[in-house]
């Protein structure tokens, strides 16, 4: 495991993002060390997905910088970031419904392929060779790894939520990522499925050497597999550090984890009710 002194692979530096008067991110800064699993947590609406969208280039921040391997990418167009090796999945699952699982995964490799229109129309020579290589690589490395060979020709719309999440991950892996950004990878999964996804995430990091940045609500998993946790609330980083430290941070408990003391909360609610 690389130490904390290693150069960060991804730096978020004072990123501020606002839409129409509402500030979604306010001076967010943190670093992602190569080879780690970094998790961003926070209540709904805290700006986690906005942060992901900003990193992947869908939003452009009003202020601040994003650096990838030390290079400024703040103004870089989204597709070019993908080519650099920033791959992601989406919270609401952005699989392409008109394609099969296999084609969805193949799509991930898009920016690393080279065949042009003429090659494509003729499907002879370069395009054909490239597609065959791609197919072999996806079959042997990704489909096998994620164990989705039984659904490779299924239309994605017919898959269960959990499988769709897995296909999304497969597509992200096909992008040959350096940093894999996962937006709620285990949302809607039961304990068993969650365990499996956690294992995949760990394996990706170990076998592929990919750095992982994820947004997740499942505290159990986050605290278990993360090396570093960043807590967002109302667009600001309120705490970061090792899982155990974050869990113990009183502000984090107040804003997100909750006091956990339901009885006390109930009491307060009742008081408020009577006061009114």
């Amino acid at each position: 495991m690389p130490g904390p002194t290693a150069n960060p692979i991804l730096e978020i530096d004072g990123v501020t993002l606002a839409f129409g008067g509402v500030t979604a991110l306010n001076g967010v800064s943190f670093e992602v060390a190569p080879g780690t699993i970094t998790s961003v947590i926070g209540p709904n609406g805290a700006g986690k997905t906005s942060l992901f969208n900003t990193i992947s280039g869908f939003y452009h921040p009003g202020a601040g910088h994003i650096r990838f391997r030390g290079d400024e990418i703040t103004r870089l167009a989204a597709p070019l970031r993908a080519k650099l090796g920033l791959a992601r999945t989406f919270q609401n699952i952005a699989l392409f419904r008109g394609m099969t699982v296999l084609d969805n995964i193949k799509l991930g490799r898009h920016c690393h392929l080279h065949s042009g229109v003429l090659d494509a129309l003729l499907y002879y020579g370069r395009a054909r060779r490239e597609e065959m290589r791609l197919r072999a690589d996806i079959e042997e490395r990704i489909i096998d790894f994620l164990e989705i060979d039984h659904i490779r020709n299924a239309p994605v719309a017919a898959l269960s939520y959990g499988l769709q999440k897995r296909v999304e991950m497969a597509r992200a892996l096909a992008m040959q990522p350096q940093v894999l950004m996962l937006d709620e990878p285990v949302a809607g999964m039961n304990r068993e499925e969650t365990e499996d996804m956690a294992r995949f995430i760990l394996d990706v990091r170990e076998e592929w050497g990919v750095t992982i940045l994820m947004v997740e609500h499942d505290m159990g998993m986050v605290m278990d597999i993360s090396d570093h946790v960043v807590v967002l609330n109302f667009g600001e980083v309120i705490a970061e550090g090792a899982p155990a430290d974050v869990q113990a941070d009183p502000e984090v408990i107040r804003a997100y984890l909750g006091s956990g003391n339901v009885a006390e909360l109930r009491h307060r609610l009742r008081q408020a009710r009577e006061a009114a």
Binding site: T49, N53, F58, F90, N92, A94
Partner: protein, 295 residues
Amino acid sequence: MIGFDWLMLAEVSFAGLGSGGLYALAGLAFVLIYKATRVVNLAIGEMLMMGAYFFFAATSSMGWPIWIGIIAAVIGSGILGAVIERLLIRPMLGEAPISVFMITVGLSSILVGTVELIWGADQLRLPDFMPSDTVLIGEAMVSPKIFYGFLAAVALIACVLLVFRFWRGGVALRATASDQAAAYSMGIDVPRVFSLTWVVAAMVAAIGGIIVGSISSLSPTMGVFGLSVLVVVIVGGLDSVPGALVGGLLVGLVESWTGTYFGGEFKLLATFSLLVLILMVRPYGLFGTHEIERL
């Protein structure tokens, strides 16, 4: 500018505003439907045509008095609107917008065929029912049909805006337009709102059709007018009633100016160039709602 005919400019501008009013009226019918049901109705020109033919049937064939004829045509069109909504549009709820769009293309073909079957393909003339003396605004002469047509259009649009604003049904319609699911959850009978909008839009279209038909003539090709309406609503914004008004007047003015100072062949070129220009600057028209995209 010495020697420039300012009176002519004034007359041309009035004429432009006048025909713009008619565009706005037809645009209103279009916008009503789009706003409430998100249907891009390519058959809007044909709905105008149906209104005009109903009027023709009531007055020329049945020999009814003009005003009864107008009322009959408006009611007839309203019923037609309800039938169209029930038979063609409602089954398509939830389908891709492009499919519904194509339904209206089919609809226009059906309406044209029906008109040809019943009334034949000849050009017909509607009875004159507006005062025919030239209207003078200052020194500028304005064609009476255009003038009264404009008044009718503006009055109708004002009516619709008022209803939208102050009648509870107007609130229901705007609520449905703004968020279907939420409208349902307020207890609003959304399908009924849909069908009502089609009825009202068909009625507005009928009035537009009667005016347009009396200015030019009546024939199964009258639906071509719908194309100009399309430009109008795109310029104004598909879901904006004031947009239809402003878009209509703007297109009317641009058409008449280019027609006068450049020649008739430049009219369409000018309006469509205007359209492209506006789309490039404001992709949702002048007043249209910008849809927010999310990942």
